[in-house]
Amino acid sequence: MSSAAPEALPSAMLASPEAAGRDRDQAGAALLPGEHSYASISEKISGIVLTAPTARWWTIAFMLCSALTLVFFGAIGYLFYKGVGIWGLNVPVVWAFDITNYVWWIAIAMSGTFISAALHLTRQPWGASISRFAEAMTIFALAIAGMFPILHLGRPWFFYWLAPYPNVMSLWPQWRSPLVWDFFAILAYLLLSLMFWYLGLIPDFATLRDRARRRSVQIAYGLLALGWRGEARHWQRRQSAHLLLAGLAVPLVVSVHSVVGLDFATGNTPGWHSTIFPPFFVAGAMFSGFAMAMTIAVLLRRAFDLRDFITDRHLDNLAKLILAMGLVLAYSYVMEIFMAWYSADRYEIYTALNRMRGPYAPVYWALILCVVVVPQALWSRRVRHSPWVLFAISIVINVGMWLERFMLIVTSEHRDFLPSAWGMFYPTIWDWAILFGSIGFFAWLLLLFVRFLPLISMTEMRELLARQQGGS
């Protein structure tokens, strides 16, 4: 195996106790500590799904999230019945919570597949135990994000007009509109993420099928496993496909969120009309996605006693990624202000100043606090090794990222060119219902995921163990 540090680390641990101690010091902790064997990995991870009794916390959380899910779909039902007028939208502010939620969710969706694909491509073994739930997070967040562009339409039942299909109206999509690019980008990303996830799940479904005791469970997982039997050539094809999908996912992630940035940048509204938007949006997406991965990692680790698999070192690495992305984002904020000044465009300058001291100034300063100031705590090693502090920071970051999108969208619209056309946006109860309902729905899907699917890839954990034992 290569001499890259992360690769060499597990094997070095077995080489000698002193070396192991040294590596532990360097890395904080090992990737797969404890006396794990192939059997114990299968036992532990499949046991969560197959044999563990349903925990009380799970039932309570599930009931709460089910209630929020009902609120979400109830609000959507009322929206379809009544129209977008139930929201606080008005003529200068035509996009508010709907598009804020859209960008926020799609950003959370960005990094799940990216984490697992990029770590797979760069052969970072620490990705193995977080990739599965990160991918699940992507798919659920993306499914929710994809709903918002449809919800924000005046006539949502015509959303399929975005697709080029033969029709009697002689209608074509406007190919040069970022809104149409969005349609293709979300479609491609959702399908690719699903295939990437499922390809990884097939062998784990086979493990569940083989370990299940009840006939109905065996049949259910057996159908999902498609008859997987672990043949050498099958593994070889799957490995090729997995690598290819990972390689395809990385540029796709960047393109998807760039297109979201272009949704704004192609408009001539001050504060939006800027070429910095695509990279700026990509950095913001990675940032909030890593933070959401951290939130979920800390919770899962605690709930299912997964300290052996999601180690301190995983959290430490994730925290460093969050910090790095946060710095890129902070730089983007500075550049945004600089470009407003440098453009010498009075509207751009006004928008930048209005964000800091206009009616929405509290939102601006709250987001700076959440997104720029608080994450600086991650420089401290002590903080990076306290799961609950990391959990709190990750929540603060995602609150901040939601505020950031709200600020970007609403402050640009509410005072654009002519003061006679200025206005304010105030959310209604339906705005809040859909926001919190969507969060509840996301958590509801995650709860189902941790109960019915293996939340860590057993295949990849076995590979990690083989590498440690082989000392290769």
Binding site: W175, P203, R229, S255
Partner: protein, 178 residues
């Protein structure tokens, strides 16, 4: 297993990927060609040890990507130049605006080809396979490693092949019913 019943092959069970890799190399070296190895995770070099020369998944993905890209670009080009040209201020259709959708569909085409190529190449879904008749085979998805020499192999001989497998020091060797 009783004599005279149809046999799919002989299967040997191992406890580590290294043993399986060694066994696979030996079986291939002894001239067996209808041999299959089963493991709970990918084992590097195992497919090659059984005589596989890589696979065509990447070529398929390339073809899928080209197809997705070309079709999407052609559709857009047809739409803006032939079927519904828009002349706005004398500006003729320009191609750069057609690139993002083309890129997304190129990636999607490649991904679909890789995914379905893998399923098709592996012959999945296939819920029944004779190897599942071996009672201990359920451990193949957890912590055991299997090597199966099929009865259809020209060199297969119940006695001789069993002796061959036993000298590889497996945990056990058993018949697999067809």
């Amino acid at each position: 297993m009783n004599e005279g019943q149809p046999v799919y092959g002989l299967i040997a069970e191992f406890s580590s990927p290294a043993d399986l890799l060694h066994a696979a190399r030996s079986a291939h070296g002894a001239g067996y060609r209808r041999v299959e190895a089963y493991s709970p995770m990918p084992v590097e070099g195992l497919a090659e040890a059984l005589g596989s020369h890589g696979n065509r998944i990447s070529l398929l993905a390339l073809a899928g990507g080209i197809l997705g890209g070309v079709l999407t670009f052609a559709l857009q080009w047809y739409s803006v130049t032939v079927d519904y040209p828009l002349n706005i201020g004398g500006r003729t259709p320009a191609w750069p605006g057609l690139v993002p959708s083309t890129f997304e569909m190129t990636v999607l085409g490649a991904a679909l080809a890789a995914f379905f190529g893998t399923l098709l190449g592996n012959g999945l879904p296939r819920l029944y396979h004779p190897v599942f008749n071996e009672p201990g085979f359920s451990a193949a998805s957890s912590d055991r490693f299997f090597l199966c020499i099929e009865a259809a192999d020209p060199r297969f001989d119940t006695q001789h092949t069993r002796r061959f497998l036993e000298q590889l020091q497996p945990l056990k060797v058993s018949d697999v019913g067809a």
